[in-house]
């Protein structure tokens, strides 16, 4: 990690957020309009900051910043190429989960800080949802780290030079995708923040630059979880002919497009049904995934 790495990561975050916004237009079947994204952002930034009637200032103003910090920190752990790995720790995959764990306090702070009953309910909904889905997320990381015998994302990419992890552990991928969609505030798991639910829920009261930060952070989250999915399951930078970085970008955008498309297609369930999915299906399933991953490692990777 050099002195330029933080700036490079910020650049990736900004450019990637723009690409995610374009993908959103594409999966919605709209005509691609990059200028409209810039215009919407500029309009938000010029908008005056109006504050809710009764609110908790520290929590209300801290929430968008914490959300953006969590999103950028999660993005920073994604290994893009052998030469550009962001924050490259021995336990980088756990750091990814740790960064995403701070989306929950951010949404709770936004909901509680807004001082509006529906926003508070939105905050609590997200806490309930993430108590369920944070565990499959961390356990699936353990399952894909087992064959590599390392929690460093770059090592997990390296072991997929032959076969991508999605083919070795398809069940882990099936458990991983709903969990990352939930933590990235994507439909159909966005019952805490969607504009159709609870009149906008936790982030409904935000205006102006703070709303722009929230919107940016949500796109960066989508980018971070898509990038990590590409690295942990689709072989990262491995691929024939094309350069490493281009493979990684293509895989990341493909995952982001798949998640956004699925989000538009799937119906939004009530929070209690989502919790049943988490506690009765995803958590027992991910314990089984760890056992299977250990067997796979012993049989095929040793």
């Amino acid at each position: 990690m050099s002195a330029a790495t933080p700036f490079a990561i910020l650049l990736v975050a900004l450019a990637g957020a723009g690409l995610v916004a374009l993908l959103e237009q594409a999966v919605a079947g709209a005509r691609l309009a990059p200028a409209a994204i810039g215009a919407a952002a500029a309009r938000r930034l010029r908008e005056p900051l109006t504050l809710p009637a009764s609110y908790d200032g520290w929590l209300y103003h801290g929430a968008p910043l914490l959300l953006l910090l969590a999103a950028v920190a999660a993005l920073a752990t994604v290994p893009w190429t052998p030469g550009f790995r962001g924050i490259d720790l021995d336990s980088g995959a756990i750091l990814f989960a740790a960064a995403l764990a701070y989306v929950t306090p951010a949404v709770f702070m936004a909901g509680w800080g807004s001082g509006h009953p529906l926003a508070v309910v939105g905050g609590f909904r997200f806490v309930a949802l993430m108590l369920g889905f944070a565990m499959p997320l961390a356990m699936v990381i353990t399952a894909v780290a087992a064959p590599a015998e390392s929690l460093r994302p770059a090592d997990i990419v390296a072991i997929q030079a032959g076969v991508p992890m999605a083919l070795v552990q398809p069940y882990s991928l099936a458990l991983w995708l709903p969990a990352v969609m939930a933590v990235a505030l994507m439909p159909p798991f966005d019952t805490a923040t969607a504009s159709e639910e609870l009149a906008g829920g936790a982030f409904a009261r935000y205006t102006g630059p703070e709303a722009a930060i929230v919107a940016l952070a949500q796109r960066v989250l989508v980018l971070a979880v898509s990038g990590m999915t590409a690295a942990l399951f689709l072989g990262g930078w491995h691929g024939p002919l094309l350069p490493d970085a281009l493979w990684m970008v293509l895989k990341t955008l493909a995952v982001a497009a798949l998640l956004l498309w699925a989000g538009r297609r799937l119906p939004r369930l009530e929070t209690d049904r989502l919790l049943i999915l988490a506690w009765k299906v995803a958590i027992p399933g991910s314990i089984a995934a760890i056992v299977l991953a250990a067997l796979t490692t012993l049989l095929f990777y040793r």
Binding site: L89, I94, T104, W112
Partner: protein
């Protein structure tokens, strides 16, 4: 990380951690208190990272988020005034508790400075590392499991007591078992 880099992360984070820890007891809002404690403990994870203890640091940052959010949940559930709108003092028996806290703090600081810490990092195949592994996975495992299950029971019990109707559940009016009857 260089010695300068470590110092540049360690000292500001340590000071901010202590300030936030102090403000946990200065605020009357349960949400603020819990989230300030989360901030202080997250900064403690950052201290571990700065001191090159990667795994402990990352794990601390990860675990504290979930734990403190659950604590906020319980505090909001049990307090009659979770927003702290009426103002509330979170300290009790001030003089004695302050003296006790100061004594423990000074004692721990003396212990940390006076201990003869090992100067070098031991290699992964050192006998100490193996001994710690056997201790954690062997004799001590029973106490860990016991503590874990006890905490789980306490949490389930707490939720049961806090939910409407209490542990007896919502009863039919007039059967004398629910708190609704006591009120009417």
């Amino acid at each position: 990380m260089s010695a300068l880099g470590t110092a540049l992360v360690f000292w500001p984070a340590a000071i901010l951690m202590l300030v936030w820890g102090l403000y946990v007891f200065r605020t009357a809002s349960m949400a603020r208190a819990g989230l300030l404690l989360l901030g202080a403990l997250g900064l403690e994870g950052l201290l571990f990272l700065a001191l090159a203890s990667q795994f402990l640091g990352v794990l601390m940052i990860l675990m504290m988020s979930g734990e403190m959010i659950i604590m906020v949940f319980f505090m909001v559930m049990f307090m009659s005034d979770p927003g702290g709108l009426m103002g509330m003092d979170m300290t009790h028996d001030k003089r004695r508790s302050a003296a006790l806290a100061a004594a423990i703090g000074i004692g721990l600081a003396v212990l940390a400075v006076a201990t003869d810490w090992p100067g070098a990092v031991v290699s992964p195949d050192a006998p100490d590392v193996q001994a710690i592994g056997y201790e954690v996975m062997g004799r001590s495992m029973f106490s860990f499991l016991f503590a874990g299950v006890t905490i789980l029971f306490a949490m389930v019990g707490g939720v049961l007591l806090a939910k409407e109707g209490g542990r007896l559940g919502l009863a039919e009016p007039g059967d004398g078992t629910s708190r609704r009857d006591e009120r009417t």
